[in-house]
């Protein structure tokens, strides 16, 4: 352990496509999944991460290193997260939120979820379905019923016409 040897402990993570990554234990334990393994003494050899591919894991490790280098300053951490996610495309975001979920990294999950929500902003239902590759499983009647439930008429900016 780091405390005994005085040198930082590194862990080896293995993606599901067999890429190996070295990462400082202090950064890796941002993942609760990995932290539990370390605490249980199961992190000695290579840690296999069966649900994460190499490309995504590389990104997550960049994030782990970046965010753990920032001292306890929530503002700075937030701006790092924003910058980190700013150039990620939709596919990458989708992979990353699943990886963050599997690794149990709540701060990354929250940030990526917010980013994914931004993708949906002011988009039509059809656009969201195509972008997310989701099949419309409503019958026309059910869809009409849901529409009826939410009779929201968006007005953008409007004048007060109640008087």
């Amino acid at each position: 352990m780091a405390a005994e040897t005085g040198t930082p402990t590194t862990l080896t993570l293995k993606s599901n496509d067999d890429e190996l990554f070295s990462v400082a234990e202090s950064a890796a334990i941002l993942s609760v999944t990995i932290r539990n393994m370390v605490e249980d003494g199961c992190a000695g050899g290579v840690i296999p991460l069966d649900n994460v591919d190499g490309k995504t894991l590389a990104s997550v490790i960049t994030y782990m290193n970046g965010i753990s280098a920032i001292p306890a300053d929530e503002e700075k951490k937030k701006s790092y997260r924003d910058k980190f996610l700013s150039d990620k495309d939709f596919e990458t975001l989708a992979d990353m939120v699943l990886a963050a979920n599997y690794l149990n990294m709540s701060c990354l999950m929250d940030a990526v979820s917010a980013k994914i929500a931004q993708v949906m902003e002011k988009k039509s239902v059809g656009w969201v379905r195509r972008k997310f590759g989701i099949e419309n499983d409503y019958t026309p009647e059910e869809e009409a019923a849901v529409k009826e439930e939410h009779k929201w008429t968006f007005e953008g900016v409007e004048t007060d016409d109640d008087n």
Binding site: E91, A94, D95, V97, L98, N101, M109, D110, S113, A114, I116, A117, Q118, M120, E121, K122, K123, S124, V125, V128, R129, F132, G133, I134, E135, N136, D137, Y138, E142, E143, V146, K147, E149, H150, K151, W152, T153, F154, E155, G156, V157, E158, D162, N163
Partner: protein, 229 residues
């Protein structure tokens, strides 16, 4: 990314927490499972200002996230009055002034409540703590009765009748419409001239905190603000 059709619900909850206004409506329409998530979401959107259209009071107007939008109120609720709101629910009073019920305007859901105890007028002030779907939900109504006594009615989640307690307050106390405040098991409430009384929910004790003998100003301008530190 394999498939958004198989995404775990907890991740959809997280995404939905950041989806606002009309986009939440689109979210619900995407597919059945997304609609289920939208309905069950533990995340509440930010506070929302609601106004009634005066010409047709079954249409209400909302202001949230810097946008206006409208929703139709069911005609069933026409002429009902909003008495209190919390957790996305409105506590409403029917036009006969006798019946209270909860209404969730976002999901168009109504929860009926047992009638207030007989021979009593409607509470001067009424409030609730925790959403009506929670086992912790508690509704508290307070009134000054015709004998100049203060009566507290408490309705707990799932119970079919109100518990009524007469308070021991030694001077005349005309309960104000200002919503009560719950702190540390005690309900604090005002009278029309600004006196503060309390009622302990756990042991039923009560008392008067202050007797200001007319706070000055008008009764409809006196409010209690909870700031216990």
């Amino acid at each position: 990314m394999e498939d958004w059709n198989d995404i775990p619900e907890e991740l959809l909850f997280l995404v939905l927490a950041n989806v606002l206004g009309k986009d939440r409506y689109s979210f619900s329409l995407v597919c059945e499972s997304w609609n289920r998530v939208a309905k069950a979401s533990p995340y509440h959107p930010s506070p929302c200002l609601m106004t009634f259209n005066r010409k047709s009071n079954h249409v209400s107007k909302y202001f949230q996230h810097n946008c206006f939008f409208r929703m139709n109120f069911p005609t069933l609720l026409k002429d009902a009055t909003v008495r209190f709101s919390n957790d996305g629910w409105l506590l409403m009073m029917s036009p006969d002034d006798r019946t209270l019920f909860f209404f969730d305007p976002f999901n168009n859901q109504t929860i009926e409540l047992p009638p207030i105890p007989s021979h009593r007028t409607m509470y001067n002030t009424i409030c609730f703590f925790h959403p009506p779907t929670s086992p912790d939900c508690l509704i508290v109504g307070i009134l000054s009765n015709t004998h100049h006594e203060v009566e507290v009615g408490v309705l707990k989640y799932g119970e079919d009748r109100w518990d009524v307690v007469l308070l021991d307050i030694d001077h005349q106390f005309n309960v104000s419409f200002c919503p009560p405040i719950l702190h540390d098991g005690k309900i604090y409430f005002l009278d029309v001239i600004g006196n503060v009384a309390w009622f302990d929910m756990t042991d039923g004790r009560s008392g008067c905190l202050s007797s200001v003998n007319n706070f000055g100003g008008n009764w409809w301008k006196i409010y209690a603000i909870g700031c216990f530190m």
